[in-house]
Symmetry: C2
Subunit: 209 residues, 2 copies
């Protein structure tokens, strides 16, 4: 059986097994044995492809961020060809909301990683914790672009609004995650706030699901 095997693909499979079990039982509760069982391989294999647990966790976080990026771009693309800035912004924010099983998993695991990064410097040094900063600048760029096209209300501070939107998205996300809000209510709040930012006329409005 030991054919020559694609390491990258195998690592991805194991990483996804990690994310699945993390979504099911919590990131704190995942062991190498659980990951191995979930991936349908032996414990030794997990050790083989990721020498240590820390490296497995790091790769898992990386994989999570990648999948989220794909998710966002897919959402943006689904907003139509050459979507307006508002549609793109909605795509990003809605993708971060825990609506289905996959986004729930994403939000839970990502929040777990964020919490861990507060007390774990190795995790904090990872670029993916810094990634929200990239999201912030992307959002700022989108808003500024909308501003130049005269799509936003006069007098809005795009930098501040970017931070606001991101904070709202994260806060609403956890709110939905713990069952305090419905996804629909969270989406409504976001939409309402976007209405405050954008002018009413050109909002090729709801691309929510």
């Amino acid at each position: 059986m030991p054919k020559r095997v694609d390491h990258a693909e195998r690592r991805s499979e194991i990483a996804e097994a990690l994310l699945r079990v993390a979504a099911r039982r919590g990131l704190h509760a995942v062991g190498m044995r659980d990951v191995a069982a979930e991936a349908g391989v032996s414990l030794r294999l997990v050790q083989y492809y990721f020498e240590t647990k820390e490296k497995l966790l790091l790769y898992g976080l990386q994989h999570l961020a990648e999948r989220f990026g794909e998710r966002v771009t897919a959402r943006a693309r689904a907003a139509g060809h050459s979507p307006g800035p508002r549609a793109v912004i909605e795509a990003v924010l809605m993708a971060a909301l825990p609506t289905d099983e996959e986004s729930r998993a994403f939000h839970l695991v990502y929040t777990s990683y964020a919490v861990l990064s507060v007390t774990d410097q190795t995790l904090a040094a990872q670029p993916f914790i810094k990634n929200p900063d990239a999201a912030r600048s992307a959002l700022t760029g989108l808003l500024r672009q909308a501003e130049e096209s005269d799509l936003v209300q006069p007098g809005v501070d795009v930098q501040l609004e970017a931070v606001t939107l991101l904070a709202m998205s994260a806060g609403l996300g956890t709110s939905v995650l713990v069952g305090q809000s419905s996804p629909e209510a969270a989406a409504a709040v976001l939409d309402h706030h976007l209405d405050r930012i954008f002018r009413g006329n050109l909002a090729d409005a709801g691309t929510r699901e």
Copy 2:
């Protein structure tokens, strides 16, 4: 030495030791031995006052919520005698922001508990996870009261704004916690949004620290 001892006080001391070590090393990393060492007692004592670790964690969460409540009312009281609705709202929201060591600890531990509650039904059944719901209705009440005093801009949906403020506060809190934003920036965002809700004239403005 074994005088008759106040159980409630002892439990509080141990619970605070738990919160301290949780703030320092993360909630996932606290063991009974750590708590015992931090409290300056033997492992047996922690077992004696809290029979199991789960009960210790539950009590710790309860203690955390109580301390946060005191913190909020202290802030509200510091806003002056008979403070306006906006001042009270600011007090609540600013108290939730991780500014000093204590509020950082609060935010980190509380978020850890929230994350745990997603996969731990015993924790999810605890009323303190439901507590944010009480905060929401309190905020709604405050906003409605302000609305009746003609202090808010026309056309604002108080229910929706309550949810928005809470989500922003939580989101900004974690943003500050992971070092992505400064507390001042977060406070500015909150203030800006309150400016959007309240009429400009009667805002007896900044009670920030």
